[in-house]
């Protein structure tokens, strides 16, 4: 028989087995964007599941496939967690057909989230383009929940059109802890809000860099302009955190799809400080 003496003593963990979660609620936040409230079927996991804002799950449907999706609910929420999903590929199209009571499968959480503990006592600025508000909403709700731990919160959210502004019913709650400003690329007649690009919101609120951290998530095209404006305003690279999107298959640094120069987006990211990616031109595209 095969010699077992060479087997490692510590049991190996099989990272590729997902856990089942049930859809409790689903609603369409914007055209092609759905918001799911979920709970794990396993009561132990439901109780003990913990994560950091900015971390992601490998979400799958059996027979369809698997994709990385950021958690959009705060870690302070017990018993359930939430995902916000934009219809983009096979899996997300299939996810959009789910109804309450249906299941999906998840493994994780994976990656590094926003270092909120290190930001205690600081003002926070959240800059979100489109669906990028999803991972930031986890951090915003966390900061709102732990209100006394942080200074003033400022949420800047840009979207294609007013229909695509996300979580609009939560802005009033957020405003109790700070300020929420939105802007859209284009709007139908009658829109009374801002029209333009998201850097215009930075000009509007004109934030001071002292004792402030910035959390960013959005499409790559947004990064260059937002980072340029923040630099002009005097923000340091160590205080700006960005969540990167990449193709991922494993979530544990083995499949190689998410590599940017010398880091794995799934392990050292998806949240990285601008300091960490300085000089890596392929990171911010």
């Amino acid at each position: 028989m095969p010699d077992k003496t060479r087997q490692k003593e510590a049991p190996l963990r099989n990272e590729y087995l997902p856990d089942q979660a049930l859809v409790l609620e689903v609603r369409e936040l914007a055209p092609g964007i759905h918001h799911f409230v979920l709970e794990f079927v396993d009561p132990v996991l439901r109780e003990n599941f913990s994560f950091c804002s900015g971390q992601f799950l490998q979400v799958s449907l059996l027979g369809i496939g698997e994709s990385p999706i950021s958690i959009c609910s705060p870690p302070t929420q017990q018993g359930s967690f939430e995902l916000c999903v934009r219809e983009a590929g096979n899996l997300t199209q299939a996810l959009h057909r789910l109804q309450p009571g249906d299941s999906l499968w998840v493994r994780g959480p994976y990656g590094q989230g926003f270092p909120l503990a290190e930001m205690a006592g600081q003002d926070l600025i959240f800059i979100a383009g489109g669906i990028g508000l999803a991972p930031l909403r986890s951090a915003i709700d966390c900061a709102v929940c732990l209100n006394d731990e942080f200074g003033e919160l400022t949420v800047l959210h840009g979207a294609r059109s007013p229909d695509f502004l996300l979580f609009t019913d939560e802005y009033e709650t957020w405003r109790q802890s700070g300020r929420v400003e939105t802007i859209v690329d284009e709007a139908p007649p009658g829109w009374r809000g801002q029209i333009g690009v998201i850097t215009a919101l930075l000009d509007l609120v004109n934030p001071a860099p002292e004792n402030t951290s910035v959390l960013i998530c959005g499409p790559p095209v947004m990064f260059r302009f937002v980072l340029g404006r923040l630099k002009e305003l005097g923000f340091e690279d160590t205080r700006i955190f960005i969540s990167l999107e990449r193709h991922m298959r494993c979530g544990v640094g083995k499949c190689e799809h998410c590599v940017v120069e010398s880091f794995y987006t799934c392990r050292q990211g998806p949240v990285l400080s601008i300091e960490q990616i300085r000089g890596i031109s392929s990171a911010l595209r």
Binding site: M1, P2, D3, K4, T5, R6, Q7, K8, L12, R13, N14, E15, Y16, L17, P18, Q20, S60, L62, G63, I64, G65, E66, S67, R86, A88, G89, N90, L91, T92, S103, W105, P220, E245, R246, H247, R249, C250, V252, G253, K254, C255, E256, H257, V259, V260, E261, S262, R267, S281, S282, R285
Partner: protein, 356 residues
Amino acid sequence: MAYGYDAHPALRRWLLELAADYRVLVPAEKGGNRIFQEVGTTDALVFGLAQDRTVLPAKKAFLPPEEMLFEFSAGRILPAMPLDDTIVFGLHVCELSADRLLTANMTHDRPDFHYLVRRNGGIIAGVSCRRTSGCFCEKTGHDQIVPGDFDLFLDLDGCPGWDSAGTGEQCGGGAKTSVAQPRLIAGSAAGRKLAASAPFPLENATGAIRAPVAAASSKTWPLDELPARIRDSFGATIWDDLAARCLGCGNCTIVCPLCYCFYTRDETGLAPETGRRLRLWDSCQLLAFARVAGGHNFRESRSERIWYRFSHKFMRMQETLGHAGCSGCGACFHFCPANIDPQQVIADVLEVTDSA
């Protein structure tokens, strides 16, 4: 001259005996190619051909080109259990060295369950090599192995039918044996145990086993410097020149003993609620490798994909694991339809970054 079953029928009997308890893979001829095949299915085992490399490397024993992660049926998941009973027989020094580094990589950070179950339960046995044309293991630091990197090693040096005159160098663990027959060198307790029934004299490994020395013109590479050199070469025109020649076929990654990237795919039967999740070898040289749902491609240009492959091998693996992710086997060159030679690529990198 090559060496095989003809020269030593007892080798065949021993391997077949092992095949009663193990899946035994040996490099054997099939359709004009050298392929790792199950010992019971082939009579064409041969060592020491001038073109002595297999099409797929030995990694396929522990990281199959396609494997099941789990099955599912009616909303339930049934994990796949990888088999842990493989002996791979007939690896060259560079292949044994590559196996050590691939295993280190799969153990590093978050261990890979499926690979490690197979590898930890597996046995690897090396064999003398005569240097295959286009190989360069001494340049990448994969030209020697120590006990622990292998379970057994079949030293053919001095055997009748084993012509080492081509290089005039021996490939073995110590002083040339005067006995003109193969000897087995045990590098682990598991190897010693298997060798108990072997038709060869058995010795314990006492030190490193080296690949035969290359031609005198061969120059080693500054492996410690290469990470910085590769990093500095990002965007250099050498990568555009390579992109103009490269067909983007991905052959180089498939035949590489140290490439391991994969993708996953779900398969269903006629009933969509029953099926399985597979993982399959991928290639960073393919256009869609870094493309996300929605269409954005984070590595759209071929020159960047080629740089990425070399940076993985000579920058990232060197930095995180302390060894270059290139064994120097030369398979990528041999199987490249565009004749892209990694030795020339590194020479070019060194040249364009020399002034830096």
